[in-house]
């Protein structure tokens, strides 16, 4: 494969991984549209690639959170049932949708993610010090919404942290730091549930996926080192603009195809 093409995939991974680590995202929101728009890949292959990247970054991050005993493993194990079922549903349902429909769903998701990003705390904003005592509540609601988060993950190749963290924090009474750590603990398992299905039906192409994963992993390592040195609001603003741009491009890419169909 041409060296320039492989390097471009690694650089994309580096950007997505470092942005992701700075903002507490898996990077899928950048990887999927970038692979579709810039590298002209079918969206299902972009989603398969992104899911593998999500497993790499969330596993490495969760290793640290679990060692520091910040992740609530009991809550994570129970709540995992919802997103795993959702991820399998999403990965199966995606085969019924056309490329154009998926691109439009992804564009809508990108607009929503941009809105959520505007209001949500970044890892650098998380409070320091000891975690307060808490009692987990609203398990049925948590399970229901995390099922939906798993469905979105399996369909669009994202981790689903921006849904799970506010859910645990706002609706289930979990401190924000524990919610962020537990979400990471769960994301790898959720992504694996759907990634196996993508792998099985040939939507994980090793020669394309490997360079992106290597880039994302190194990018996430760098991003977590810069966490205390970079002004996170600037990064957040930059990503917001990028997400809006990618959303518009996804729509522009999809709309002529709808016209052609009509």
């Amino acid at each position: 494969m041409p060296l320039a093409y492989v390097l471009a995939l690694v650089v994309l991974g580096l950007l997505a991984g470092s942005f992701g680590a700075l903002l507490g995202l898996g990077g899928g929101v950048i990887i999927v549209p970038a692979l579709t728009l810039l590298f002209d890949m079918p969206i299902q292959i972009a989603v398969g690639t992104s899911l593998v990247c999500v497993i790499a970054t969330s596993s490495a991050a969760a290793a640290v959170y679990v060692q520091r005993q910040l992740a609530d493993t009991r809550l994570g194990v129970v709540l995992e049932l919802g997103p795993v079922l959702g991820a399998i549903t999403g990965a199966v349902a995606v085969t019924w949708l056309s490329q154009v429909t998926l691109q439009i769903i992804f564009a809508v998701f990108l607009f929503t993610a941009a809105l959520l990003l505007w209001r949500r705390p970044t890892p650098a904003d998380l409070p320091g010090g000891a975690v307060p005592d808490y009692q987990v509540r609203n398990y049925p609601l948590g399970m229901g919404i995390s099922y939906l988060a798993g469905g979105v993950s399996g369909m669009l190749g994202i981790g689903g942290g921006p849904i799970k963290v506010p859910l645990m924090y706002l609706a289930m009474g979990v401190p924000i730091k524990v919610a962020a750590a537990t979400s990471n603990f769960m994301i790898g398992v959720t992504a694996t549930a759907s990634a196996f299905l993508y792998y099985h039906r040939g939507s994980v192409v090793p020669a394309l996926t490997a360079p992106v994963v290597v880039g994302v992993f190194l990018g996430a390592l760098l991003g977590s080192r810069w966490l205390r040195r970079v002004e996170s609001r600037w990064v957040q603003g930059l990503l917001l603009l990028l997400l809006l741009y990618l959303a518009v491009q996804m729509l522009r890419d999809a709309l002529p195809l709808i016209g052609a169909k009509l």
């Binding site: 494969m1 060296l3 492989v6 690694v10 593998v52 497993i55 790499a56 596993s59 490495a60 969760a62 290793a63 640290v64 679990v66 060692q67 005993q69 493993t73 009991r74 194990v77 129970v78 995992e80 049932l81 795993v84 079922l85 399998i88 990965a91 199966v92 790898g188 398992v189 992504a191 694996t192 549930a193 990634a195 196996f196 299905l197 792998y199 099985h200 039906r201 040939g202 939507s203 994980v204 192409v205 090793p206 020669a207 394309l208 996926t209 490997a210 360079p211 994963v213 290597v214 992993f217």
Partner: protein, 115 residues
Amino acid sequence: MTLPPQRASQAISAVLRWGSYLSTAVLLLGVVWMLRAPDVPLRVGPAMPLRQLGRQLAAGNPYAVMQLGILLLLLTPLLRIVTAAVSFGLAGERRYALVSLVVLSLILLGLLGVG
């Protein structure tokens, strides 16, 4: 035999850390190998069948090395579930051990059901 919570966390953390680092290292090896072996036929397509993987690895096929890295990465969260289930079991928390095994079964059933 019981397992203190700290030991359980260390075991789960080690699986996640080593799984992600090892598989990324294998992926990196595959990518570098692919770039340094232009005589190997270009293979931009789905993963090869598992029964071919061992033979292709032995033959030094960089695409097989990358596929091995991806498989190791996909297996890491599954190994994490097994480690959590064993840790909960040893700590006497059978309910959580059982839920972990249910999650593992769902993933495997999903794969078998679709496969």
